[in-house]
Symmetry: C2
Subunit: 356 residues, 2 copies
């Protein structure tokens, strides 16, 4: 096991590592289960002692679960982490930003391979999150279900015969399952075909939302797609619906990229190489600009227009260029916006192998 | 001697070569004398036979002059050059664009070291132009005067006791001397101090004009400064006045650069490196953009902010990125704007040592 400091300094989260399926478009997949202890109020209504009780009950199970799974876990107690460190965990999507706000009795367990993240006293008492690179909902779904079984074997969980699992927020009622994929959609964005998909998604029971900013100016062309419904369907149905819809979006994105590469090749190549030139040499760069250029670069790599760098490096920069990670790298919480923009440019240069 | 084709393909004009004085700001200096044959109308009013007569008289002197100077000359008969080739000579400032329009009996002699350009039947019957790298009016002035003496020894030149040399345009009357320096003024431009100098220049008897575009959008931050007056002063007085004024502008430009490097270093460095990144990797670039970025790059090189390239390369690109030179390089007169922009980007990449 690495130290927690070393783990936090890594810029490529473990769930990005490896050759995931459909990784030209899908960066990662995640399945999350929401569970709550019987007869204890949900975290947003629970008192200090009740949160402590939940923490105790869940934590007690961890050694056994680690042993059964044959995995080691980092134990990350929010109360004992600095705001920067919590920011890094949020930037890597291991925890939600909300989880960092009231750190008392909030603990995350993250597996050594960084594909499991268990959160105690987030919106629900226990959230089981499993991740995989590329488009793969089956592996994390199976793993999350197994972990759930291990917990439920010794934990009384709030469950209603009619409603299913009871959750803090009604949108999670039923299965408590939320599947999510992280998609890179520069082709649909450039060909202006994205709004059609976004508009159609509620009818398909899915939510599409940009990772950064709003729909108009989503700097990185990155989108989360997740199921909106949790009630009235089985886990298997939810996952199957999600899978087939994402496959359709995938096909559209690939078509759009093909069209760009065919009908707008010159402009596309120019964009990609200019993005590379700026990322490689700029001395100051905002997060928005870095994400915008990174999207071009990743597209160029996927379309094999450019061989100077690879997908792995793009994913590293995607995480590492975020403000929390840069502050952590510089070991300085008080960097000004201007200093951060300079740190970001330096980090990206180094990541792209530039020596100056 | 190179062949004329090889001479035209060179991207660094000979007068840019070598370590000129004050070359951080002054790219090159030029002195031009305008002379006309007695009793033959000026070229704009001369008939075909009269132009032929002038050509004959001047050309007859060339072998003797070459011998006396110990120099060889390229003979460039506009009538026998293609429009592209004429364009290249104009892009390198050996001839004026006007000289290329009616090619009959228009001949240029350019010395092998590319520091002398003699034009027959330009605005005047004979124009003697001598150039030197950096800020050096004395060398070209002495050389031009020597060449003038050699011509006048055997050529009856139009001269009036009261007016001095008679010239086609009254602004050249008297000495017929026009001294000109080519200045790179990114510091004064960035600190918005240029207009003061431009406004003051007529009172100093000088004209300041941007090399490209108008004052508002002079893409390369390059300016020609030349004497406006030719009448009522001796050659020595004109040159001395020019020298002292240019020295003042030089000092201001250096102050401005120092101020930028001190108070705006971060932004300046970022600009310089981004310019380098774009020039090195873009797949398509307009002349305007190339010149704008090149100005940043040259400034960065002069301020030692960047060591990836040098002044020589900047000067090469300054010439070589011009449309006429790119058409000549591609041996294709009919390139579209889009194709030229791609050729320009490719040429610049290669000049900056990029292999892709």
């Amino acid at each position: 096991m690495k130290t927690i400091d070393a783990f936090l300094l890594e810029d490529v989260p473990g769930y990005f590592e490896g050759d995931g399926r459909d990784s030209d478009v899908v960066l990662a997949s995640r399945v999350r289960l929401a569970r709550n202890c019987k007869e204890i109020p949900f975290p947003n209504r629970a008192g200090e002692n009740q949160l402590a009780e939940v923490q105790l009950r869940v934590e007690k199970r961890m050694p056994g679960i680690g042993q059964t799974l044959g995995r080691q876990f980092y134990r990350l107690d929010m109360e004992h982490l600095s705001p920067i460190q919590r920011g890094v965990l949020a930037a890597k999507s291991f925890i939600s930003p909300k989880f960092t706000q009231t750190p008392q009795h909030r603990v995350a367990f993250i597996s050594e391979d960084e594909r499991i993240s268990l959160l105690i006293n987030e919106e629900d008492h226990l959230r089981i999150q499993c991740m995989a690179p590329g488009f793969d909902l089956a592996t994390p779904a199976a793993l999350a279900s197994k972990i759930d079984d291990l917990f439920e074997a010794e934990l009384d969980v709030a469950f209603d015969e009619k409603m299913g699992y009871l959750t803090s927020c009604p949108t999670n009622l039923g299965t408590g399952l939320r599947a999510m994929v992280l998609l890179h959609l520069p082709g649909l964005t450039a060909t202006k075909n994205l709004s059609g998909i976004v508009n159609l998604s509620p009818q398909l029971g899915l939510a599409v939302r940009p990772v950064w900013g709003n729909g108009k100016e989503n700097a990185g062309d990155l989108y989360y797609i997740s199921n909106q419904l949790t009630l009235g369907f089985s886990e298997a149905e939810l996952l199957a619906n999600m899978k087939s819809t994402v496959q359709e979006i995938l096909a559209h994105e690939r078509e759009a990229r093909k069209a760009l590469a065919m009908y707008a090749k010159d402009g596309l190549e120019d964009d990609v190489w200019r993005a590379y030139g700026t990322l490689r040499y700029a001395r100051s760069i905002s997060e928005q600009e870095a994400l915008r250029l990174l999207s071009k670069l990743r597209l160029g790599v996927e379309l094999k227009l450019l061989h100077e760098t690879d997908t792995h490096t793009c994913h590293a920069i995607l995480t590492g260029c975020q403000t929390a990670c840069l502050k952590n790298l510089a070991e300085n919480e008080n960097l000004s916006k201007k200093e951060i923009d300079r740190c970001r440019a330096k980090y990206i240069r180094e990541r792209l192998g530039e020596k100056n």
